[in-house]
């Protein structure tokens, strides 16, 4: 049976939004602990190249994802050492991580530029995938799509229903108070940064192993930065990350459908390619113009260094 156009659009939107969800949820946890890691673009690039290389050599995409996650965590660790141990400016350290990660991934990935991977088979959810229209759209995906949903639920539960999540948020809101009642602020922030790095790494792995599946320099193409914008858009709430990610996913696939549908739009392809970036700007403006939404929702110590002895 040929899936309907609506079903295909929903399907493609979800696929395009998946790496954004995974990376943005990771960054959300990091930011909830009070750390602003602007290195997501670099981490995703490293995750993508590591996952691709390992998948090429082992033929196992699952190992690829793990490699992507590991690479992301190493990148997170580098950031954490600079920003948490050495108390370097978080904005500058994040920028450094992005420049470094984009450069290093291009360097490592050079020999893999002409390699193509077989596409990974989808896993159809038994029963549910037979539902007309929605079945194809929601239940005939690759594993990481379901993972992104589980991750959202898991993180929402962790942040708002678990004890450790409460501690994490306390560290982000009032690190001095959390420290004085005996929590190790630096260690908790390390954990949050490593988790965020691991997730951004998986987000990158999704791009190179599942989505395209190939590696080219610059293939992350700003998705790391869009994930950062998504956290602001979501006003630091997990459920809204999903809404935002699918909005962007829809934006990204517009080009594909306009070209594939045979519509004769007299618009250069570059204008359609610019849509997701323009949308990011518009969304940021819409969310930020009410200063109170940002001030009330963002973790109070976001971006500020913490020194246990001060």
């Amino acid at each position: 049976m040929q899936p309907s156009l609506l079903s295909s659009i929903l399907f493609a939107t979800i696929v395009a939004g998946t790496p954004l969800i995974i990376a943005a949820v990771g960054e959300l946890v990091t930011e909830k602990s009070g750390v602003l890691n602007l290195g997501t673009e670099g981490i995703m690039s490293m995750g993508a190249v590591a996952a691709f290389a390992v998948t090429v050599h082992t033929g196992n995409p699952l190992l690829g994802i793990l490699a992507g996650m590991a690479a992301g965590m190493v990148m997170g660790l580098i950031f954490a050492v600079a920003a948490l141990t050495f108390m370097a400016n978080q904005v500058a350290s994040g920028l450094a991580l992005s420049i470094f990660g984009v450069g290093l991934s291009a360097f490592i990935g050079k020999p893999y530029e002409s390699v193509a991977l077989p596409s990974v088979a989808a896993w159809n959810v038994p029963g549910l995938h037979r539902i007309p229209v929605l079945g194809h759209a929601f239940f005939e995906h690759q594993g990481l799509v379901y993972f992104s949903w589980a991750l959202l639920g898991g993180v929402a539960w962790f942040l708002y229903r678990s004890r450790l999540g409460l501690v994490l948020r306390a560290v982000g809101e009032a690190p001095v108070a959390a420290h004085s009642v005996g929590y190790n602020v630096v260690r908790i922030r390390y954990m949050a940064v490593l988790f965020g790095g691991g997730m951004a790494g998986i987000g990158g792995a999704f791009l190179s192993v599942f989505y395209t599946p190939l590696w080219v320099e610059g293939m992350v193409a700003g998705r790391g930065w869009i994930s950062l914008a998504l956290v602001v858009f979501a006003t630091w709430r997990p459920a809204r990350v999903m809404v935002g990610a699918y909005l962007f996913g829809g934006c990204m696939i517009t080009q594909m459908f306009v070209q594939g549908s045979g519509m004769h739009l007299n618009v250069p392809s570059q204008f359609l390619s610019a849509l997701p970036y323009a949308a990011t700007i518009i969304v940021l403006v819409l969310i930020s113009h009410n200063k109170n939404t940002i001030r009330l929702n963002s973790p109070a110590s976001l971006g500020q260094p913490f020194s246990p002895e001060a």
Binding site: F86, G103, S273, H289
Partner: protein
């Protein structure tokens, strides 16, 4: 924890100057380690990367040529960074500046006026300012984070360049290559040293360094930027306008990046292509930080960063390593700098 940082009673002046040198040393050391891991001789790698590029007059000229756009962008960015204005979209401002200046050159292709080049430079500055004004306006009017908006505008600028060189501005006699026609002589920078590609763009960069030094150290506005960056509340109590800080920081950065864009298309590139800049706008952030946001420092760090670009070309040619090794070195340098800066305010204490 095996080591602990202990706050110094007051920041160390010595470390302020030593920390960039420490960072360079660590970068070179880790670079040599990287060469070793890649199965190349570290000494040979060091020679190819850091010494080969500047062993003759042509090489030194290339060094200054590459440093020109880096210094221009970095001086502009440092004005904003001093006031905590995080314009990270210099790359896009550079491209739009190049389009504005290059558009003029294409439109007046037959002109023999001596004013063409100065007009291109002014157009480039205005183009860069326009592109920087967008995040400035969004920040002051809608409170939108300038880091993300200025960066998104880089991608949009790249797509505009791509559209123009594939479409309306494509050279009609260019065999369908995505590039404009070559600029005529009056629209290109005069060469400074015969036999090299070094051009008058360097003089503009030096002028920008001097103007930047005066602005930062001798003007009231420069002082306001510094106060706004270091102690936001103090600046507010003193009645310094936060909006004005944003505008000045962004516009100065945009103007300089735009001029850098013109210096490239009217200099070594000679036309508009999709490859006007190998990431100068991003590398300039590193130049600004490594140069301590100070014009004198920026001059030297600009030369260093230019050397990393040239070294990457040499490594590609003689060691068969990808060109992107330049960016690896650049990223490492910034990291080491940010980390070694802790010693300005802190001392290390080892714990048993």
């Amino acid at each position: 924890m095996w080591l602990k940082f202990e706050q110094r009673p007051e920041p160390s002046r010595l470390m302020r100057y030593l920390s960039p040198l420490l960072a360079v040393g660590l970068m070179v050391a880790s670079g040599m380690l990287l060469f070793h891991l890649l199965g190349k001789s570290p000494v040979e790698g060091f020679k190819v990367f850091f010494l080969n590029p500047i062993q003759d007059k042509y090489g030194v000229a290339e060094l200054f040529l590459k440093a020109t756009p880096l210094i221009l962008c970095a001086v502009g960015l440092s004005v904003g960074f001093r006031g905590n204005i995080w314009n990270i979209g210099a790359e896009g401002q550079l491209l739009i500046g190049a389009l504005a200046g290059g558009g003029l050159a294409l439109h007046f292709h037959d002109s023999s006026s001596l004013l063409l080049l100065p007009a291109m430079i002014i157009a480039g500055a205005l183009g860069g300012m326009f592109w920087a004004a967008i995040p400035a306006w969004l920040r002051t009017r809608f409170n939108a984070n300038e880091i993300l908006t200025s960066l998104m505008l880089v991608y949009i600028a790249e797509l505009i360049v791509s559209w123009l060189v594939h479409g309306p501005w494509m050279d009609p006699d260019g065999f369908n290559f995505p590039q404009t026609r070559l600029f005529q002589a009056k629209a290109t920078m005069p060469i400074l040293v015969a036999g090299t590609r070094l051009n008058a763009g360097l003089l503009i960069a030096v002028g920008a360094l001097i103007a930047g030094w005066i602005f930062m150290n001798r003007s009231f506005m420069g002082y306001q930027m510094k106060v706004a960056g270091q102690a936001e509340n103090a600046g507010r109590y003193a009645g310094f306008s936060a909006r004005r800080t944003v505008w000045i920081g962004m516009l100065v950065g945009g103007a300089m990046a735009g001029i850098a864009g013109v210096a490239e298309i009217a200099g070594p590139v000679g036309q508009i292509t999709e490859h006007i800049s190998p990431g100068y706008g991003f590398a300039a952030m590193i130049v600004a930080f490594v140069g301590r946001l100070d014009p004198v420092g920026i001059f030297f760090s600009g030369l260093l960063m230019a050397l990393l670009y040239l070294g990457g070309e040499q490594a590609q040619q003689y060691l068969a390593l990808p060109y992107s090794i330049s960016k690896v070195f650049q990223g490492l340098l910034l990291f080491f700098l940010l980390c070694s800066d802790v010693f300005i305010t802190h001392r290390i204490r080892w714990k048993k």
